[in-house]
């Protein structure tokens, strides 16, 4: 058998978005020989599309802000299902991580005094998001990319990992292929940080790009690391709905943070009809009070348009279903009638251009048409809060691919800060672990390498009978998930979804791709599809089990949250292609943190 290209490192980071880059920098700084593997070009990862900002209680605009308030907002936004320790570390460390970015050269919008400015976002009590206009992700990824390049960290671009290799239950390496040549590559390493992002491509309407096929979720699961919270998928309330070619593309929450409001076809500001009891005490119930809040947060409560994303997405969904939608099946997001053209162009330059160029709509003069779009998965690899370690020795996860931090629903702005805080922690701890191992590292077995190579080439082999096209299969998977495992779910539909997923899995065995191994997108998709099918099954399985509505999981047949379900997570494992599930009680929050919720 042919000899494969081989490399040996202390730490291998899979994914080069915010979490992966931050993890690699931390591992490098801790003295580990570190490599980054990413499936697209460096600097193009999904983080680049993030718009709004990074949430950090710096208190630059509102001195009353503190990590305790941020922690409380995060937990309440996640409907108390969050891993409390992650939410605490996140709130405590986010300001320092933002300042560190600045130290490395990031620019931020400023207050007149020269401090980093902060903006309002849904679910945050104070203006808290450090940002650059509406292109914060671009600045963050540029800064981290340049830092990583400057440190001389090895980067394997356009390289996809298909298997995490283990030795007696501990990480031994990774197997992958170069997208360009199709040649295989083996990494020998005791420490892997998964930082592969999310799963949005299993849905039809999504703000996510082609990379988001649940690779890290599937790699972790197959290596033996359980996933938690997979039933919680965030549908961002405001995606573009028109024209069809841009359907799903994100419209930043900053539009609402900066004064934009939602209206139905009758011109009604409908969010006032959808304030849940849980948030009544802190939400304005008149337009007058809501409008007063932007300038005077002490004497007014926040507008209902800035409720957490799950609430707003459900409300928009209901308006459309009730026949009060916009011409192309969304609702209206109006900032034109509320702010001056100059203000809009200065604060939301990318949105202005996006609508002008892609939809021929001038957002300074007319309302946008928007609707919910799959944006983020709260679920992911279960990790230790302090170290990012999964259940598999040597396997770490950070960012969207990890689970727990955001509970059942993530607040806007908490993702970019999550990447920095937990990317750093996972990278450091991966390096420490590799350092402690010294000589006795787990060994990559040749049998596993051969098997991984054979599995990767399966789509080329003639599987007989019917040949399946990977693109058709992907479309059918997306249609199933959109139709049966979307924003509003029922037992019947979820059961049907699992039946259809079984059929799709069967069809996937007969995928046949044409051409050669060199830069062959059909082959790449065929390999990604295996991951997508596995994570789709996890989402549907957990969604069927959880018989309540909470955050990013709404059951029409169980419309309310239940106290019993509020005290546990669903944990998913996989063995020989079979997904199993068990209930697991939440970790108890210490008394001093409990108090923050009792003061209400």
């Amino acid at each position: 058998m042919a000899e494969f290209e081989r490399h040996s490192y202390d730490v291998v980071v899979i994914g080069a978005g915010g979490a992966g880059l931050r993890a690699a920098i931390a591992a490098h700084d801790a003295g580990a020989r570190t490599a980054i593997i990413c499936k697209s070009l460096l600097g193009k990862a999904h983080t680049v599309m993030a718009e709004g900002g990074a949430a950090a209680a710096m208190g630059n605009l509102w001195p009353d802000d503190s990590w305790r308030v941020h922690f409380r907002d995060t937990m309440r936004g996640g409907k108390m299902l969050n891993n409390w320790r992650m939410a605490q570390l996140h709130a405590q460390e986010a300001p320092e991580r933002v300042l560190e970015l600045e130290e490395w050269g990031a620019l931020f919008d400023r207050t007149p005094d020269g401090l980093i400015s902060q903006r309002d976002f849904g679910g945050h009590r104070y203006a808290r998001l450090a940002h650059v206009g509406d292109r914060t992700g671009l600045e963050m990824i540029r800064t981290l990319q340049q830092r990583a390049v400057a440190l001389g960290i090895d980067v394997f671009m356009e390289c996809t990992v298909t298997e995490v290799l283990t030795d007696d239950g501990a990480v031994a390496g990774a197997f992958g292929y170069w997208r360009e040549s199709g040649r295989f590559i083996v990494f020998e390493t005791p420490s892997i940080v998964l930082a592969t992002g999310g799963i949005g491509k299993v849905y039809e309407v999504t703000s996510n790009s082609w990379e988001y096929t649940g690779d890290g979720h599937a790699l972790g699961l197959r290596a033996g690391a359980p996933l938690i919270n997979m039933e919680f998928v965030q549908f961002h309330p405001t995606g573009m709905v028109w024209p069809p070619s841009v359907r799903g593309i994100l419209v930043t929450e900053s539009v609402r943070g900066d004064g934009g409001v939602l209206k139905n076809s009758e011109g009604e500001r409908f969010m006032f009809n959808y304030i849940p009891d849980f948030f009544k005490a802190e939400t304005a119930d008149t337009e007058e009070e809501a409008d007063g809040w932007y300038d005077d947060k002490k004497n007014n409560r926040r507008p209902p348009e800035l409720l957490p994303r799950d609430e707003v997405a459900r409300a928009i969904n209901s308006e459309i279903k009730a026949g009060r939608g916009s011409p192309h099946g969304g609702v209206f997001l109006d900032i034109a009638s509320r702010r001056s053209p100059e203000f809009i162009q200065r604060r939301l330059p990318s949105m202005y251009h996006q609508f002008k160029e892609l939809a021929d709509v001038d957002i300074t003069a007319e309302p946008m048409e928007i609707g919910p779009t799959c944006h983020y998965v709260m679920g992911g690899v279960e990790v230790d809060a302090d170290t990012g370690a999964s259940a598999v020795t040597g396997l770490y996860a950070a960012g969207e691919v990890s689970g727990g931090m955001h509970g059942s629903n993530r607040l806007g702005g908490n993702s970019l800060s999550d990447l920095l805080v937990f990317g750093r922690r996972a990278g450091l701890n991966a390096a420490y672990y590799a350092g402690r191992l010294s000589e006795s590292r787990p060994q990559v077995s040749e049998r596993d390498v051969t098997a991984a190579g054979k599995a990767a080439l399966a789509p080329f082999s003639d599987a007989g009978r019917v040949d399946e096209n990977p693109y058709t299969l992907q479309k059918d998977l997306q249609a199933t998930m959109q139709r049966l495992v979307g924003i509003i779910r029922t037992r019947e539909e979820l059961t049907q979804a699992l039946v259809e997923l079984e059929t799709l899995k069967e069809r996937a065995k007969h995928i046949q791709v044409e051409g050669h191994r060199q830069y062959n997108p059909g082959w790449h998709l065929a390999l990604d599809l295996a991951n997508m099918l596995l994570v789709a099954e996890c989402v549907a399985t957990a969604a069927l089990e959880r018989e309540e509505s909470r955050g990013g999981h709404t059951r029409d047949d169980f419309p309310l949250p239940s106290e019993d379900w509020g005290s546990k997570n669903l944990v998913l494992t996989e063995k020989d292609g079979v997904v199993s599930l068990k209930h697991q009680p939440l970790q108890t929050m210490p008394g001093e943190l409990q108090q923050l919720f009792e003061e209400e």
């Binding site: 050269g105 620019l107 990379e211 070619s245 160029e357 693109y471 060199q518 062959n520």
Partner: protein, 247 residues
């Protein structure tokens, strides 16, 4: 309006052909369909082996740059109706080696990046615990334009100097250097100067201005280079006149 349009796509499959060839595909001429939508239609419906890069569909990742009817463009922001009735020529970006079909090798740019030190250089580093470096909104306005670069490589594809001399630092890298030089928090312009006054640095530029014309983000690399030449000339002169320590 016709309901379809022809894409003339450059194909190059190094394992089976020594020269690129042109292949024609008819794609639906949907209102507001971008060239990228057309290419994805080809890949999903007609020929699953067509290779090209793309990611965000919203003009921020800078992956989908190609030559459309002779001009470097982000294909997610180039609309088929603007080229009707067609045909539309789609080629890989010029000035880069082609890997396959519409995919080009851009490692050269990644290798050049660190040489301009694209980060804040301080004579004395301050610990993070002391908070941020102060910077007013006006100071930010001074350089913000140059920070909009999405590394899409359109300016390199348009630059005749880079086409002739691949050693030339190139528009985006110089604009990036200028982004830090003009940043009020930075003290590294002297170190960057030493890199940029090499002949492959700013003096290579003959001010054709194509880079600024094709930039999808209004970064204006040509302006950055011009502005920098002035600084460099003054600084170089000073370095002759003053003893080294006084620079």
């Amino acid at each position: 309006m016709a309901d379809s349009i022809t894409l003339q796509v450059t194909r190059y499959r190094p394992e089976e052909e020594s020269e690129p060839t042109i292949q024609e595909y008819d794609v639906p001429l949907g209102r507001q369909w971008s060239v990228l939508d057309g290419l994805n239609y080809v890949k999903d419906q007609i020929d699953g082996t067509l290779s090209f890069r793309w990611s965000c569909r919203m003009g921020i990742c800078g992956s989908c740059g190609m030559t459309v009817n002779g001009e470097p463009k982000l294909t997610c922001g180039a609309f088929l109706t603007d080229y009707a009735p067609g045909p539309v020529r789609v080629e890989p970006l010029a000035n880069f080696p082609v890997i396959r079909d519409l995919v080009v090798e851009i490692g050269d740019f990644i290798r050049k990046l660190p040489s301009v030190q694209p980060w804040i250089v301080r004579e004395e580093e301050r610990p993070v615990s002391e908070g941020e470096y102060l910077q007013t909104p006006e100071e930010l306005d001074d350089y913000q334009q140059y920070s909009m670069c999405i590394n899409c490589m359109l300016c390199y594809a348009a630059c005749p100097v880079y086409g002739l001399d691949p050693e030339f630092m190139g528009p985006a890298a110089i604009a990036l250097a200028q982004r830090y030089n003009l940043d009020s928090r930075d003290e590294g312009s002297r170190e960057r100067l030493d890199v940029l006054i090499e002949h492959e640095g700013i003096w290579g530029c003959t001010f054709v201005g194509e880079c600024t014309a094709v930039c999808p983000k209004g970064v204006d690399p040509a302006g950055a280079i011009q502005r920098y030449k002035l600084t460099a000339a003054t600084e170089t002169l000073k370095s002759f006149l003053l003893p080294r320590g006084a620079r």
